[in-house]
C-alpha cells in the first residue's frame, strides 16, 4: 500500500499550526446565560469556575465571610494576576452593595464575561469586580416569601426590647410575597385614588378628603408589643456602611462605618491596591445619567471663612475678619508663582475647612461632559426610552466614599427602571363649549376613530360606539348642541390625580408586561389583632428589577459603557525631552510629561484630600551629578491632555545613557533613554 506522504505531511503541518491556537489562544469562554437571575451561591460558583479555568489572567479573592455564612468575593482579571505590586492601573467595579438590586449583579456577571472574552480590554489593566456587595441581603430575591430587605444577617435588636429579631414580616395570605395590609381606621391617612383605586394617596383635608386606611407591611405582631414587624431578622445594609456622610444611630446603617466585615475588609483591600484608578458602582443610582448631586450644606461656609491667627499673620490676612472664598483666592493668587494653578480645593485644604460635602466644581465639568456622552451612547444602543429616574445617591454609600475619600473618578450605573407612563393626551380638547360650536357635519367629518376616542375620554358608557353616534347625528336624533348639554351634565371622569407618579408607572408596567402580576388585588383577611384587613399591593422589586426575559438585551446594550469609561483613564507619557549642552559637561535636561488620558490626575477631590501620590519623574545615569533639581521630581497634577515639565541641570564628564522614568501607581507609566555624548556635538 502506498502511503500518501503528501497527505501525512499536510496533516502534520496543519496540526502543528492549529495545535497552538487550540492550546492557549482561546480563553475558556465564560458562557454565562442571562435567562434567569443567579443566586449568590451560583454567582460564587461562576466566579470560582472562571478563576480556575483562566488562572493566567483570573484570580478570585474572598473579601469576607458574612454573618449569614455567605462569601463576599472579588474577581481579579488582568495580566498581573499573582503579583502583589502592580505596575498597571486598575478599575474596581462593585455591584449590588445594597443587596436589593439583582440586575446589578447580573450586569457584573455580564461584564465579567465580556472581559474574559475580549483579551484587549484586560491586557493593559486589571479589573477588580465584586459581583455582590451584600450577599446576605441578595438572597432575599430567591427566598420565599419574597420581600426586599437590605440588611445582612447580623442579629440586631431593632426595637430595643428584650428579644432579638423576634418580629419580622409574615406571609399571611400565603401567596409567597410580602405585600401591604390596609385597615380601616378613624384616623387612617390613606385613601384610594379615584381614577385608579388600586393605588392609594394621602387624604388632603384642605380638599375635604377623608382618609380611610392605615397601612402596615404584611405580618402579625409576633412579640405582642403593639408594633408590627418592627424587629425583623438582621442586620446592617452594607451599601450605607461607608465612611463618607455615614449616619449614626440609624435602623440599618450599622454602629460605625466599617462595622461589618464586608465593608471593613473592602477598605483594607482598596488601600492595599493603590493601582485602583477608577471605581464604578452597579446599583440603583447613576452618576453617568446625571452628575453626582450637589446642594448639601458644607461644614465650612465658603461665604464666611475665618482665617486662623497664625496663618493670617504669615500671609497678610486679617484674623478678625471673615472672607469669601473668592476674596481669599484673589489674594492668594498673588503669593504663588505665576504659572502655579491655585484651586479652591487647595485653599480649603490649607485652611482646614472641614470635609467636602459636594462635588468639586472642576470635577462636575467632566461628569457633565461624560453624562452627555452617555446619553449619546444610550441613543446609539436604542436605550433612550423614557424611564423612571434612577435613585439618588445615598449618604454612606460606596460610590460617595470612593469619590470623596479615595479621590479617584467614581461612577455609578443603574440598568433598569420601569418605563415612564404614557401620557394620555386629551383628545383635541373636546370641551362642551367646543362641541357646541361645531356643526353636525364637522363632527361627522372627525371620523370614527377620533369619535371613539372622544367617547372614551369623556366617560361615555362602553356600549355607545362612534358608528351609532354618527348615525344618530346624520338622522337628526342627535346634535352637537345636545351632546354638549349631556356632557355638561355627566359626572366628571375620575382622575388619577394625587397618585404617586412612580407607582403609576410601575402599575402600568405590571399591567402591560407582567399580566398584572406585579400588583396583588386587595383581598379581605381576618387578622388576629387588627380585625378585618385587606391584603394586597405591589409585589416587591418592581422598581428596579425587570423580568429575566429582558436581562440579555438590557445588559448587552448598556454594560459596554464601562469600557468607554475605562478608555478615559489617565495615562502618563513622556511627550518630549530636550537636552541643552551648556558646555564643560553641563547639560540642562527637560522632560515634558503628558497625561494622554481624558480624566485629570488626580481629580479636584483627590487634590483636596491628598490621597493620590504625585507623578514621580526619576532621572538616573551612571556617573552623572545632579547640580540642580532632585533625582526624584514631582508633578502633582495633570489635567486630561495636559502636560507638565520638570528639568535638571546635570554634569557628566563622559558619554552616558540617561534613564528617565515616569511613574505613579494608578496610571500607565513611561520610560525613555537619552544618550549624551560630551563635546560640541550635544545630545541625541
Amino acid at each position: 500500500m502506498k502511503i500518501n506522504c503528501r497527505k501525512i505531511v499536510t496533516c502534520f503541518f496543519v496540526l502543528v499550526l492549529i495545535f497552538p491556537l487550540l492550546e492557549n489562544a482561546e480563553p475558556k469562554k465564560a458562557l454565562i446565560s442571562f435567562t434567569a437571575y443567579h443566586t449568590p451561591s451560583e454567582v460564587s460558583g461562576i466566579v470560582k469556575d472562571i478563576a480556575a479555568a483562566n488562572s493566567s489572567f483570573a484570580k478570585m479573592h474572598t473579601l469576607a465571610a458574612t454573618p449569614g455564612k455567605n462569601e463576599m468575593v472579588i474577581l481579579e482579571l488582568g495580566p498581573e494576576v499573582g503579583q502583589t505590586k502592580k505596575k498597571l492601573p486598575a478599575v474596581l467595579v462593585a455591584a449590588n452593595m445594597h443587596g436589593n438590586v439583582p440586575i446589578s449583579t447580573e450586569a457584573a456577571l455580564s461584564l465579567i464575561q465580556q472581559i474574559v472574552d475580549q483579551a484587549d480590554v484586560r491586557k493593559d489593566k486589571t479589573w477588580y469586580i465584586i459581583p455582590i456587595g451584600n450577599p446576605d441581603a441578595a438572597w432575599n430575591y430567591f427566598k420565599k416569601p419574597l420581600k426586599t430587605d437590605t440588611r445582612n444577617s447580623r442579629p440586631y435588636n431593632d426595637d430595643k426590647d428584650d428579644r432579638i429579631d423576634e418580629d419580622g414580616t409574615d406571609d399571611l395570605d400565603g401567596n409567597g410575597i410580602i405585600t401591604t395590609m390596609r385597615v380601616k381606621s378613624p384616623n387612617g391617612q390613606w385613601m384610594p385614588v379615584e381614577g385608579e383605586p388600586r393605588l392609594m394617596k394621602r387624604a388632603d383635608w384642605i380638599k375635604g378628603e377623608k382618609g380611610v386606611y392605615k397601612l402596615y407591611t404584611e405580618g402579625i405582631d409576633n412579640d405582642e408589643d403593639g408594633e408590627y414587624n418592627e424587629d425583623g431578622p438582621g442586620g446592617v445594609n452594607i451599601g450605607i456602611n461607608f465612611p463618607h456622610l455615614f449616619h449614626f444611630f440609624t435602623a440599618t446603617g450599622g454602629t460605625w462605618a466599617g462595622s461589618e466585615a464586608e465593608t471593613y475588609n473592602l477598605f483594607k483591600f482598596v488601600f492595599q491596591h493603590p493601582e485602583i484608578a477608577m471605581t464604578i458602582s452597579f446599583g440603583d443610582d447613576n452618576f453617568c445619567l446625571n452628575p453626582p448631586r450637589s446642594g448639601r450644606r458644607e461644614t465650612g461656609d465658603y461665604s464666611k471663612i475665618k482665617i486662623p491667627k497664625f496663618i493670617a499673620s504669615e500671609f497678610g490676612y486679617d484674623a478678625d475678619k471673615t472672607y469669601t472664598m473668592e476674596e481669599i483666592m484673589e489674594k492668594a493668587k498673588e503669593m504663588v508663582p505665576p504659572d502655579f494653578e491655585l484651586t479652591e480645593s487647595m485653599v480649603a485644604g490649607f485652611l482646614g475647612l472641614g470635609a467636602a460635602a459636594n462635588p468639586q466644581p472642576e470635577d462636575l465639568k467632566f461628569y457633565t461632559e461624560i453624562s452627555d456622552q452617555y446619553k449619546e451612547f444610550l441613543k446609539k444602543n436604542k436605550m433612550e426610552q423614557k424611564r423612571l429616574d434612577p435613585a439618588e445617591d445615598k449618604d454612606g454609600s460606596f460610590e460617595l466614599w470612593s469619590y470623596y475619600q479615595l479621590g479617584v473618578p467614581s461612577f455609578a450605573l443603574d440598568f433598569w427602571t420601569p418605563p415612564k407612563p404614557e401620557e394620555k393626551k386629551e383628545e383635541g380638547g373636546f370641551t362642551p363649549d367646543k362641541l357646541e360650536a361645531m356643526s353636525n357635519d364637522d363632527f361627522i367629518a372627525l371620523g370614527e376613530e377620533k369619535i371613539d376616542a372622544f367617547l372614551k375620554s369623556s366617560g361615555a358608557p362602553g356600549g355607545i360606539k362612534a358608528k351609532m353616534i354618527i348615525e344618530m347625528v346624520k338622522s337628526g336624533q342627535m346634535t352637537t348642541k345636545k351632546m354638549a348639554e349631556m356632557m355638561r351634565q355627566m359626572p366628571k371622569p375620575k382622575s388619577s390625580e394625587g397618585a404617586d407618579q412612580n407607582e403609576k408607572a410601575i402599575l402600568q408596567f405590571s399591567d402591560k408586561e407582567l399580566q398584572g402580576k406585579g400588583f396583588v388585588d386587595w383581598k379581605t383577611f381576618k387578622h388576629p389583632t387588627l380585625g378585618e384587613v385587606e391584603i394586597g399591593g405591589f409585589a416587591p422589586f418592581l422598581n428596579n428589577t425587570p423580568p429575566a426575559s429582558l436581562l440579555d438585551s438590557l445588559l448587552k446594550s448598556q454594560t459596554p459603557w464601562v469600557f468607554e469609561l475605562a478608555k478615559k483613564l489617565p495615562c502618563m507619557k513622556i511627550a518630549k525631552t530636550e537636552v541643552k549642552n551648556l558646555e564643560s559637561g553641563i547639560y540642562r535636561v527637560k522632560v515634558w510629561v503628558e497625561n494622554t488620558g481624558y480624566l485629570p490626575y488626580p481629580t479636584a477631590m483627590g487634590e483636596r484630600n491628598q490621597q493620590i501620590p504625585p507623578v514621580v519623574i526619576t532621572l538616573k545615569g551612571e556617573g552623572i551629578k545632579i547640580i540642580d533639581g532632585k533625582p526624584r521630581s514631582f508633578i502633582s497634577k495633570l489635567r486630561g491632555h495636559d502636560a507638565g515639565m520638570v528639568q535638571w541641570l546635570i554634569h557628566t564628564a563622559k558619554p552616558v545613557q540617561l534613564h528617565i522614568d515616569v511613574s505613579t501607581p494608578s496610571a500607565w507609566s513611561d520610560t525613555k533613554t537619552i544618550s549624551i555624548e560630551p563635546g560640541p556635538g550635544g545630545a541625541k
Binding site: 428584650d162 465612611p243 444611630f249 483594607k268 491667627k309 499673620s313 491628598q610
Partner: protein
C-alpha cells in the same frame, strides 16, 4: 497629649520640644517584682512581665487576656480584676482604664499598673478596696501603643516623637513611605537640637545660662544658627526628617465621627485601620458592662470630658451633671489638674477613643492628661503667690508669637533651675560638638526625652497614687441599684397592687442619658412573673401622692427603664391570681436583682 506640636514642628524648623540626653539609670530595664515599684518607668517588656507576675500572684482575682497584636507584632494585654465568688464579671459595673495610645505618653501605663497593684495588694487589707473589688469589675489595658512605647524608650527620640501607631504612611506625598526620620547622630538615646556657629545666625548664648539661647535684637551680631532636630536628609530631597514613621494618631482612628486625614491629621485611611486598635475594638465590644472609662495621655494636667467636636452638640444636661460631680472631685484629688471640655477648652478631634466609648458604648469617659509642668516649679513662697497663670499655647486667643518663637522663655529657665537642683542637671544635655555630613561642625544639645511631658521618677509615686485614687472615686460612683417592694395590697376582687422601687445611691445612672437618647441598646428590664398570676396593668409611678401611673399598653409585665443617679424610679403593677411572684431587674451596667413575694 493631644497637642498638635507635631504639626507646628513640621511648619517651623525651630522647635521647642527637644529631647535627648544620656540614658539615666532610672529609665532603663529593671527586674520586675510584686508588689510593683514606682520609682522607675516600665519598658514594653517590663509591663507585660508585670502583668504576668500580678496574675501569678493573684490568680483568683485576675484574668489576663491577649487582646491582639500590633503592627510590628507586639502583644497588647488586658487584665481583668473581678472576684468570681461575688458574681460574673459581666454582671457588675465595668470600669475600663487604658494608657499610652500615643507612644511617647508613657506614664499613664504606670498609673494603670499602680491601680492594679493597689487593688490587688490591698484586697482583704483595706475595707473600701475589698468592697470595691467585690462589687465591680476592672478592665485595664496598661499599654495600647506597644510599638510606640518600645521605640520611644529604646531608640533616639524627643519628648513628642514616637507618638504614632507604626502603620506606614507617605506624609510628605513624595511616593515614598517613611523614608526620612530623625537620626540619633550621637547615639545617646535622645533627639536633641542642632546648632552651628554663624555670625548671621538669629540666636546668641544667654548671658546667665550657657545652655540657653536667646534671639538677637535687630542689628545685633548673631552667634548661632539653629538647624532643627538631630538628623540628616536621608532621601536627598532637600528636607530633613520630613517623613517619620507613621503618621497615624491612634487617638483619631476610632469609628465614631471619624474624618479622613485631610480633615483630621493622623486619622488613618479608614476607621480602625490600625490592627492593634481593631483588636481592642473587637475585645471591648464583648464587654457591654463598661460604664466608666479613663484613658491616659500627657501632658498638661487636665481631666477632659467630651464632646470632642463642636458640631456634635453638647451632652445631655443630666450627663453633664455626672461628669461635673466626678470631674470636680478629681480636681481635688489631683491638685493643679483642671476639669475641662475637650473641644472647647482644648481643640476639636475627630475619631477619638473617648467619644467612641461614650457614643457607641454608652459609657462615661474621661481623658487624663497627666503631668502639669507647673509641678516643676522653682519659686519661693512669696514668688509663687505672685505667679501669673500659665498661658495656654494651644488656645488661639492666647497666641503669643513672642513666646512661641523664642527659644527659651521664663518657664524653660525655671525648669532648668528645677533640673539643676532636683535632678542634678541630668534632664538637659549640654551642648557638645559633632561633625555633621552636610553641615560640618555643629553642636548638639537639649532636653532629654524623659522630660517636659514626663515627670522625674521621684514625683512618679505621687502622680500614680493620686490618679489611681481619682479612678477609684469614679469607680465607687458606678451605678448600684437596690430593689424595694414597698407596697403590696388587695385593691379589688382578685386584684392586687404591687409597688416596686429601684433606687441608686451613686452618681451614675444605670444608663447614660446620651445612650437613652440615641436608643443605643435596650434599657434596663423590670419583669414581673409567676406561675399563677397575671399582670393586668403596669407602668411607672410618676406621682405617688396622686396615684398617677403611666400605664404601658402592651406587655405590662415587661417594663423598660433606667435608674437615675442619686435617685429612684417607682413602678406600680396590678396583678390577679395567687401564689408566688418573681420580680426581676436586669441592667447592663447595674447588674441583676431578683426578689420573690407571695400574694
Amino acid at each position: 497629649m493631644k497637642k498638635v506640636i507635631l504639626f507646628l514642628s513640621i511648619l517651623f524648623t525651630v522647635v521647642f520640644v527637644p529631647v535627648s540626653g544620656q540614658a539615666v539609670n532610672l529609665y532603663e530595664q529593671h527586674e520586675v517584682t510584686v508588689p510593683l515599684r514606682f520609682d522607675y518607668y516600665y519598658t514594653y517588656e517590663m509591663i507585660n512581665d508585670a502583668l504576668k507576675k500580678l496574675h501569678a500572684a493573684y490568680p483568683q482575682l485576675t484574668q489576663l487576656d491577649l487582646v491582639g497584636k500590633s503592627e510590628e507584632g507586639r502583644d497588647i494585654y488586658c487584665m481583668t480584676v473581678n472576684n468570681p465568688k461575688t458574681g460574673n464579671k459581666l454582671d457588675k459595673p465595668g470600669i475600663y482604664v487604658d494608657a499610652n495610645i500615643h507612644g511617647n505618653e508613657i506614664q499613664g501605663s504606670e498609673v494603670a499598673l499602680y491601680l492594679l497593684d493597689y487593688l490587688l495588694d490591698n484586697y482583704g487589707k483595706i475595707k473600701e478596696i475589698t468592697r470595691l473589688v467585690d462589687s465591680k469589675c476592672f478592665y485595664v489595658i496598661p499599654c495600647v501603643n506597644v510599638d510606640g512605647r518600645y521605640h520611644f524608650m529604646k531608640e533616639g527620640n524627643y519628648s513628642s516623637s514616637a507618638r504614632t501607631i507604626l502603620a506606614p504612611r507617605d506624609d510628605d506625598n513624595d511616593g515614598l513611605v517613611d523614608e526620612d526620620t530623625f537620626d540619633d547622630l550621637d547615639g545617646d538615646g535622645n533627639i536633641c537640637q542642632m546648632r552651628k556657629k554663624d555670625p548671621f545666625g538669629q540666636f546668641k548664648t544667654d548671658a546667665d545660662d550657657p545652655r540657653v539661647l536667646v534671639r538677637i535684637k535687630p542689628g545685633e551680631k548673631g552667634e548661632w544658627a539653629m538647624l532643627g532636630m538631630e538628623g540628616i536628609d536621608n532621601d536627598g530631597d532637600g528636607r530633613v526628617n520630613e517623613d517619620e514613621p507613621g503618621y497615624l494618631d491612634g487617638n483619631r482612628n476610632w469609628g465614631y465621627d471619624w474624618q479622613p486625614p485631610y480633615v483630621q491629621l493622623g486619622a488613618g485611611n479608614y476607621p480602625l485601620s490600625a490592627v492593634g486598635l481593631k483588636s481592642m475594638a473587637d475585645y471591648i465590644g464583648k464587654l457591654p458592662n463598661i460604664c466608666m472609662v479613663w484613658a491616659f495621655h500627657n501632658y498638661g494636667g487636665m481631666i477632659l470630658r467630651g464632646p470632642s467636636t463642636k458640631v456634635q452638640g453638647e451632652y445631655p444636661r443630666s450627663d453633664i451633671e455626672v461628669y461635673d460631680y466626678l470631674g470636680k472631685q478629681a480636681e481635688r484629688i489631683t491638685p493643679g489638674y483642671r476639669y475641662i471640655i475637650s473641644w472647647k477648652d482644648l481643640y476639636t478631634t475627630y475619631g477619638d477613643f473617648s467619644e467612641w466609648m461614650v457614643m457607641t458604648h454608652g459609657a462615661y469617659s474621661f481623658v487624663g492628661e497627666l503631668f502639669a509642668t507647673s509641678s516643676e516649679t522653682f519659686k519661693t513662697y512669696e514668688e509663687s503667690k505672685k505667679a501669673k497663670p500659665e498661658a495656654d499655647f494651644d488656645k488661639e486667643d492666647d497666641y503669643d508669637a513672642e513666646a512661641m518663637f523664642s527659644m527659651y522663655n521664663e518657664k524653660d529657665r525655671e525648669q532648668l533651675k528645677f533640673n539643676d537642683h532636683l535632678a542634678q542637671g541630668e534632664m538637659f544635655v549640654n551642648w557638645k560638638p559633632y561633625k555633621h555630613p552636610t553641615y560640618g561642625d555643629i553642636e548638639i544639645g537639649g532636653w532629654i526625652k524623659y522630660s517636659s511631658r514626663i515627670s522625674h521618677p521621684f514625683m512618679l509615686k505621687d502622680l500614680v497614687h493620686r490618679n489611681a485614687s481619682a479612678i477609684i472615686f469614679s469607680a465607687k460612683h458606678t451605678p448600684e441599684a437596690s430593689m424595694d417592694i414597698f407596697d403590696k395590697q388587695k385593691v379589688g376582687e382578685n386584684l392586687y397592687r404591687i409597688r416596686v422601687r429601684l433606687s441608686n445611691t451613686k452618681a451614675m445612672p444605670s444608663m447614660s442619658y446620651q445612650a437613652q437618647k440615641n436608643k443605643l441598646y435596650p434599657k434596663d428590664i423590670l419583669k414581673v412573673s409567676g406561675p399563677g398570676i397575671k399582670v393586668i396593668a403596669g407602668g411607672e409611678l410618676t406621682d405617688i401622692h396622686r396615684d398617677r401611673v403611666l400605664y404601658k399598653e402592651y406587655k405590662p409585665d415587661v417594663q423598660f427603664l433606667a435608674v437615675p443617679g442619686f435617685g429612684k424610679i417607682e413602678y406600680q403593677f396590678l396583678v390577679s391570681g395567687t401564689g408566688s411572684i418573681q420580680i426581676e431587674y436586669s441592667s447592663r451596667h447595674a447588674g441583676r436583682i431578683v426578689k420573690n413575694i407571695q400574694l
